[in-house]
């Protein structure tokens, strides 16, 4: 499903070149559950951004479902993000003035789907995450775990084939963190590919595949024993 070949990502900090990613090649098949770990500055966030089409590689080829992504225009990439990728962030990134339901509805609005179809889909998504009674609450009226669940509802409302989670439990207590991970793993079991970037080794252990990065390169890539 995902194929990265010889990806470089170079930033310029002042005069100096920083290789955030150096010659990274990687293949991830559909439905996989991958944890990307490593110290800060190792390039794992850059990898996630490139996988999520938020960033473009300086060099190398990225194929998503056999389409060469790098060749697409910005608008086309936006379409791919809209339809195929769901993001879950450490800081939730809910829009504070919108209710939970309105936040979840956003991708549907961006896709230009009729209101008549939007409402039931949003209701269903919130229901499946146990948030029905929170639909009309604004983010500041929700707990951290509830916010992240709203964010997950938003990430999945377009039925993407890939979910990218950047420290999804980084801002949550252990209980709600576990809840959130459970939900993500449930989604993975239903066939959606899941890539989680994390510092937390316990979290990494749960994934079926572990990728450890340092200095912009893949240090180890191993499958967990089933």
């Amino acid at each position: 499903m995902i194929r990265l070949s010889h990806i470089d990502r170079v930033f310029f900090v002042g005069e100096e070149q920083v290789h955030a990613l150096a010659d990274v090649s990687l293949e991830i098949s559909a439905g996989e559950y991958v944890a990307v770990m490593g110290p800060s500055g190792s390039g794992k966030s850059t990898l996630l951004n490139i996988l999520g089409l938020l960033d473009r590689p300086t060099k190398g080829l990225y194929q998503l479902e056999n389409d060469p992504i790098s060749a697409l225009s910005n608008e086309q990439q936006a379409q791919v993000r809209l339809n195929k990728i769901g993001f879950v962030f450490q800081f939730f990134h809910l829009i504070p003035r919108l209710t939970a339901a309105e936040n979840v509805e956003l991708p549907l609005i961006l896709a230009g789907i009729d209101p008549g179809q939007r409402k039931p889909r949003v209701r269903q998504a919130l229901e499946s995450l146990g948030l029905s009674d929170r639909a009309r609450h604004r983010p500041d009226q929700l707990s951290g775990g509830q916010r992240q669940r709203v964010a997950i509802a938003r990430a999945t409302i377009m039925r993407p084939s890939l979910i990218l989670a950047d420290e999804p439990t980084g801002n949550l207590d252990r209980t709600s963190g576990n809840e959130v991970i459970q939900i993500l793993e449930d989604l993975n079991r239903s066939g959606i590919s899941l890539i989680v970037v994390t510092h937390d080794p316990a979290l990494g252990e749960r994934a079926k595949r572990n990728i450890v990065m340092t200095d912009g390169q893949i240090l180890s890539d191993r499958q967990q024993a089933p």
Binding site: E75, A78, P107, I109, L110, A111
Partner: protein, 401 residues
């Protein structure tokens, strides 16, 4: 993303930051309102002058001694000593079939007294025709009687204010007043009437023209006011007047004839130009409001960085984000303009109540122009922030909270 959704999203964003939104709306409203109020004042001044000229009488021509090249200008100060206009000149104008009424005017200032009261007053020497030409109305008594203008008599018509000041509440009719060393009997009092064109008709004494000539010891007329037969006769009357006087002045073309229309159209042009100038100046405030919109939108863009990053991550393209922010600018300027309309109508209503004799009304073109300008500036100044938002790098936009 459909238009109604974009608008809905933008409106929600504007309600999300009420203080900022209100400030921008206020600035826009003030800009639009000032354009409209100021143009309504300019337009009011034009209408006011128009009305003043109509109150001067209709189909009026004014004959001045001396030749001047430009219509409506003052007689030349240097060069030639014009020949005086005489009473005979004035009376001869009655020969023309295009001339309906002729009122020669001698004007001067003299002390007027009744019993112990005494004051300096403008004395207007004229004939019975003046009554119709200036469209005067009598309060009491009668105006100067028609008759041979070249023989004077000791009768006077006094203005409303003079009557009040000299006689108070007593009747003035039939009383004898003294002007300089001459005695005049009051035969009429003018009705209370406002100023017209700087000449306060309530603050003067009208006596027969021949009497005024003796009083001021002059043959010369200050000017002659003429009423043409009708509107179409004005230009023919003008030619006739010029020809008649030229004949009488040994072929010398030494008078100036001003038509009311010419003066009116000159003033009209001046005040229209003035109104446009004021409108232009006021439009600057609209520009300022536009810049304010830009500022506020720029602040909004940098404050909502993570929101923009999120929208991009969710799959919003460049044009969608551009539309969202342009819609915000458009809504701001549109609502501001509408508020400005309300403010302007309120303002002119208050002005109209405070100054009832001054005709204030907002010209329709200024409504259209100011609302349109508000829209255009709002959009133009909204483009830069919107483009900045749309071009934002999602990674850095999302990296900070």
């Amino acid at each position: 993303m459909k238009l109604e959704n974009t608008l809905h999203f933008s409106i929600q964003a504007l309600f999300g930051y009420p203080a900022r939104t209100l400030l921008v709306l206020l600035a826009m409203a003030m800009g639009v309102a000032s354009v409209m109020v100021l143009t309504s004042l300019g337009e009011g001044a034009r209408l006011y002058i128009n009305r003043e000229f109509t109150s001067l009488g209709t189909n009026i021509l004014i004959v001045l001694p001396g030749r001047s090249e430009t219509t409506g200008g003052p007689p030349p100060l240097l060069g030639q000593t014009p020949r005086d206009l005489t009473l005979e000149d004035a009376l001869s104008l009655k020969k023309s079939p295009f001339v309906a009424k002729v009122a020669p005017i001698v004007i001067g200032s003299a002390p007027v007294s009744w019993r112990q009261k005494d004051r300096e007053v403008t004395i207007l020497g004229t004939t019975a025709d003046m009554f119709d030409i200036r469209q005067l109305t009598m309060g009491q008594g009668a105006f100067l009687p028609p008759g041979d203008p070249s023989s004077g008599s000791g009768i006077a018509v006094i203005g409303y204010k003079i009557k009040k000041e000299l006689f108070g509440n007593q009747s003035a009719l039939g009383e004898w007043i003294r002007i300089q060393d001459w005695r005049f009997r009051v035969i009429g009092v003018l009705a209370k009437k406002g100023q017209s064109l700087g000449m306060d008709m309530s603050d003067l004494v009208i006596i027969p023209v021949a009497s005024a000539q003796s009083l001021f010891n002059t043959e010369a007329l200050f000017r002659i006011m003429i009423q043409a037969k009708n509107r179409n006769a004005i230009s023919t009357a003008k030619d006739a007047i010029l020809r008649i006087i030229q004949d009488r002045h040994d072929g010398e073309d030494d008078i100036t004839v001003i038509t009311q229309d010419a003066i009116l159209s000159t003033f009209d042009r001046i005040f229209t130009a003035l109104t446009f100038t004021i409108a232009g100046i006021a439009a600057v405030s609209l520009g300022v409001a536009g810049i304010l919109i830009m500022n506020v939108m720029l602040i909004s863009v940098s404050q909502r960085k993570s929101e923009i990053g999120l929208l991009k991550a969710l799959g919003a393209g460049y044009s969608q984000i551009l539309q969202v922010f342009l819609a915000e600018a458009a809504i701001l300027s549109m609502t501001g303009a509408l508020l400005g309309l309300v403010l302007a109508f309120l303002g002119t209503y208050i002005i109209a109540r405070l100054f009832p004799y001054f005709p204030v009304h907002i010209p329709p073109w200024s409504v259209a122009a100011s609302v349109l300008t508000a829209q255009v500036t709002g959009l133009i100044f909204g483009v830069l922030p919107a483009r900045r938002a749309a071009a934002m790098d999602p990674v850095s936009a999302l990296s900070r909270r």
